[in-house]
């Protein structure tokens, strides 16, 4: 193995955005993930955007098969995976063709030269080789024969050329690791543990990585080695976390904090399936996972477990949420705790399974028949999924209701450094069950009424197995108090209002302006969910340029914060960026009669900070225009 010499400290960059693009079979997600982890260990702030096709292996070399991973690393606090990459690594012609437009003008383009031969060029739809033409004149092009160098490096370990081909992503990783002064150890350690027992694969991947690293060091790249220094993060222990893992851990934490065993009923669906995978690993925490026969069974089983005294959870994405509607109504009617997790993706129908969108808000709010209210919480960043999972469990258990948790594909798969919370600081969740009679029957004997509410408005929950408190509940309308089946008109109206008021009166935190807000701004940007990063980035840029704009980000969408109406009305203009056609904005307009404006994007991709910056600037210009007109207006 070649010794890797560390160069004396290279010049520093404050940030860089790198995009790895290749065929689905090229291992680009893994490459991006490893680069990200090495950067995290190094201490950078970072944000990632994995983008992959819905097909597991689209025909190799085609545009349909291109898989990409964008990572933004910096020496300061950042909130998005970056608007446009500074560096594009294209492993084949299709990746170049599909992703070149994302690269900033003059950006660095690193291509695997070996793949630019006729067959691949044809598959990508090129009638010529762009590497030999003027096509790429506007970029700093670095042509590297990655495949052949990888094969060469692997040959000494007896790796067959065809097998060595699979290691070329590690060559790319090694090269980029050299260019951006990434630590080598985390990747080496990872290779050792990931492929433990498969010595040949370990040797091949290490050899490929080292070859890439050495190539950077020795070759005339035309690219200087730079460093992106560690970001000044708050002291603590950090890990790099994606949204679905954070969410899974948050659910485990909620189970521990409440003392209830966690029960997950789920059915595989992109991009929620990783939660099922993750929680299935945690049997040591007493977690039961149930991969059901369908979406409806998965929520049905979660309701059954919740009725039995578990923390019942079901996880899905939009199409599955549509199927769970009736069962959610049952949980509303039974007033049982339940967490329904929707990792949103592009719709309608199958839509864009692997692409992000946030167009299920209306379905979360109203997607059940009858008046069937559910509290809704939404995470804003990957790590926030941990906190919001605990919050969802708190609302579900304390207020005895099904709760909707909204995340999306971008949060689910995107990652960021997360400062680990102190476990002892996490608030416990108090759960109480009925164990005694609460009523006396006609004969003077003690009896149990399952809907005779306490002062907190909750019905008493007596778990099956509790002596003497046998009772029946159901989805059919029941008399408040006794819980007996009731078709009485006044009782139904009472129950509809009661169920509505129960949810509407759940205390949620006040809406607070984000950091840096509050300097007499006329424009308020209101966001929810995963747009936090892009809005935050945009607002920072506008402020740096002297623009006055505030940002509030809603974590609780039902009920909404009590102070939100007053807050909205205190601004001349309200802008609501959403990855849908304007769903929150409708709710805000209906609830508060404010002239909030929508900024919509539905491309299956998150907002860039630039897109929101542009909209903010336009809105501010509009305000200035109005002011100007007023000043110069004729009386």
């Amino acid at each position: 193995m070649t010794e890797i010499a560390e160069a004396p400290s290279p010049p520093a960059l404050d940030e860089v955005i790198i995009r790895f693009a290749g065929d689905s079979g090229d291992g680009m997600q893994l490459t991006g993930d490893r680069f990200t982890n090495a950067s995290a260990m190094f201490g950078n702030d970072l944000a990632t955007l994995p983008e992959y096709p819905a097909e597991i292996r689209a025909p190799a070399g085609t545009m349909a098969g291109v898989s990409a991973f964008q990572v933004h690393i910096s020496d300061h606090d950042i909130t998005t995976p970056g608007d446009a990459p500074d560096v594009l690594v294209a492993m084949n012609p299709a990746a170049l063709k599909s992703d070149l437009h994302t690269l900033v003008p003059g950006g660095t383009l690193i291509v695997n030269k070996d793949t630019f031969e006729e067959r691949n060029l044809t598959k990508a739809g090129y009638d010529h080789n762009p590497l030999d033409a003027e096509d790429l004149a506007g970029y700093r092009l670095i042509k590297v024969p990655m495949t052949s160098l990888t094969k060469e490096a692997c040959a000494e370990f007896g790796v067959k050329p065809r097998d060595a081909d699979r290691s070329k992503n590690f060559f790319a990783l090694g090269l980029l690791s050299w260019m951006y002064s990434r630590p080598v150890e985390p990747t080496m350690d990872w290779i050792e543990s990931k492929f433990a027992g498969k010595d040949l694969i370990i040797s091949a991947n290490r050899a490929a990585f080292n070859a890439g690293h050495a190539y950077g060091e020795t070759a005339e790249l035309g690219a200087q080695r730079v460093i992106v220094k560690a970001a000044p993060l708050a002291p603590g222990t950090y890990t790099n976390i994606n949204g679905n893992t954070a969410l899974s851990w948050g659910l485990v934490a909620a189970s521990q904090l409440s003392g209830l065993p966690l029960y997950l009923g789920s059915y595989p669906i992109t991009p929620a399936t990783d939660i099922l995978h993750e929680l299935s690993k945690h049997k040591a925490f007493g977690v039961t996972t149930f991969q059901a026969e369908d979406e409806i069974a998965s929520i049905g089983a979660a309701i059954g477990a919740s009725y039995g005294g578990s923390l019942g959870v079901t996880t899905t994405s939009g199409p599955g949420l549509a199927l769970k509607g009736e069962a959610m109504g049952l949980a509303v009617s039974l007033e049982l705790p339940l967490i329904v997790v929707d990792i949103q993706r592009g719709g309608p129908s199958t839509g864009l399974p692997t692409k992000t969108e946030a167009a299920d808000l209306m379905m979360a709010m109203y997607g059940r028949h009858g008046e069937s209210p559910m509290p809704i919480v939404a995470a804003r960043t990957p790590s926030d999924c941990f906190d919001m999972a605990i919050e969802a469990a708190r609302i579900a258990l304390v207020h005895q209701t099904p709760v909707m948790f909204l995340s999306d594909g971008y949060l689910a798969n995107g990652s960021e450094p997360w400062r680990l919370p102190e476990v002892d600081d996490l608030p416990t969740i108090e759960v109480r069950y009925a164990t005694e009679f609460n009523m006396v029957d006609e004969d003077g004997n003690g009896t149990f009424w399952p809907f005779l509410r306490g002062e907190d408005g909750n019905r008493p929950i007596a778990l099956p197995g509790t002596p003497d408190l046998m009772h029946r509940i159901g989805g059919i309308e029941k008399e408040d108090g006794s819980g007996n089946v009731s078709y009485d008109p006044d009782n139904h109206e009472h129950m509809v209002h009661l169920r509505n008021d129960r949810i509407a009166s759940i205390p949620v935190p006040e809406a607070e302006l984000e950091e840096g807000s509050g300097d007499d701004a006329d424009l308020l940007v209101v966001g929810w969910g995963s747009t936090w990063g892009a809005i935050t980035g945009a607002v920072r840029r506008v402020r740096v340029a002297g623009g006055r704009v505030d940002h509030v980000h809603l974590t609780h969408l039902n009920p909404l914060p009590a102070n939100l109406g007053d807050l909205l009305r205190s601004y001349q203009r309200v802008l609501v960026p959403e990855l849908n056609l304007g769903q929150l904005v409708r709710i805000l307009r209906a609830e508060y009669l404010v002239d909030a404006q929508s900024l919509s994007k539905v491309k299956g991709q998150p907002f860039t900070a630039g897109e929101i910056q542009f909209a903010i600037t336009e809105a501010l210009d509009g305000l200035a225009g109005i002011t100007g007109q007023n000043e110069g207006g004729t009386a």
Binding site: N37, A40, G43, P186, A230, L233, P235, G236, T239, I241, W249, V252, A253, Q256, G259, L260, G265, H282, K283, A284, F285, T288, F290, A292, E293, I296, A297, G300, A301, I303, G304, A305, Y307, G308, G309, S310, G312, E326, A327, G329, L330, R419, L420, P421, V423, T428, Y433, L463, P464, G465, T466, P467, D468, M470, H471, R472, I473, G474, G475, V485
Partner: protein, 348 residues
Amino acid sequence: MTDVLNPATQVSDDPVPETSRADWTSDQEVRWCPGCGDYSILTALQLLMPELGVRREKTVFISGIGCAARFPYYMNTYGVHTIHGRAPAVATGLAMARPDLDVWVIGGDGDMLSIGGNHLIHALRRNVNLNVLLFNNQIYGLTKGQFSPTSQKGKVTKSSPVGLVARPFNPISVALGAEATFVARTHDMDRHHMQDTFRRAYEHEGAAFVEVLQNCNVFNDGVFASITKKDVREDMLIDLQHGEPILFGSEKQYGVARSPEGVVIVDVAEVGIEDVLVHDETIRNPSTAFSLSRLAKTPVTPTPIGVFRAIDRGEFASSVSAQIREVQAQVGRGDLGDLLRSQPTWEV
């Protein structure tokens, strides 16, 4: 961190109290149509429960939607009246979360074989510890008389005014196709047979499926009369008894024998008793039981009742919890702080 607290899972050392039918009867007025077969099934169960030596608080009835699904309201046990077709799914979650409970699932032919067919076959396939009673009246009652997935071809109903085009499901065949470990049939005209069958279902470890032929006297009156009426039963019901030759008729003059196509009804005098099939519930291969399920054109020809199949196979919920216990025995109880540090970490 608190440990799991669940007052209901506490195991009582007290002996199971003696109970009577009244103890198992809820205070709710029964609202089935007068003359409905559901009454006799309810009575059979309310009379059986005291004999099983079980606690009311450990007994849960889960139902879907339909006439039969009102059943839980009338039992003085825990109960949930869920939504159409989903009772086996809700019951599966409950049985997994609470292996200490006896969970009964009640539903009709529409509930369990039409809208909920998927949940039924998967609950049976997994062998979840549930007692599933399917009240089959070959009609939709609560929606007032449409054909069901068990209605006979040609049946005239409100939704098939010139006769039903599709063939019906045979519930026993469906259950055997799903390789259920306990499959039985009984009928609402014979309380003792129902009780014997329900008791066997209760005692079975795993999913127990019982089809109860049940009369809907409003929308499908007398549909099983030609086999279940007292004066025809001897000739029209074939009572399966484990280890016994399968014989029926007033003189036990008829029997069931193997044939190239499966099984057929034979005249014992003609073929000789040695050719009559001896019933064995415990054959692991469900083929013979399946053949028996295909014997009858219910309700027109002699129909087998009793236990078609009863085999031991690992129960689902206990196997799932055993995996959890094994992992905990190997690595100990999970520690949240360790979990958060289970990926690479770094200090700032």
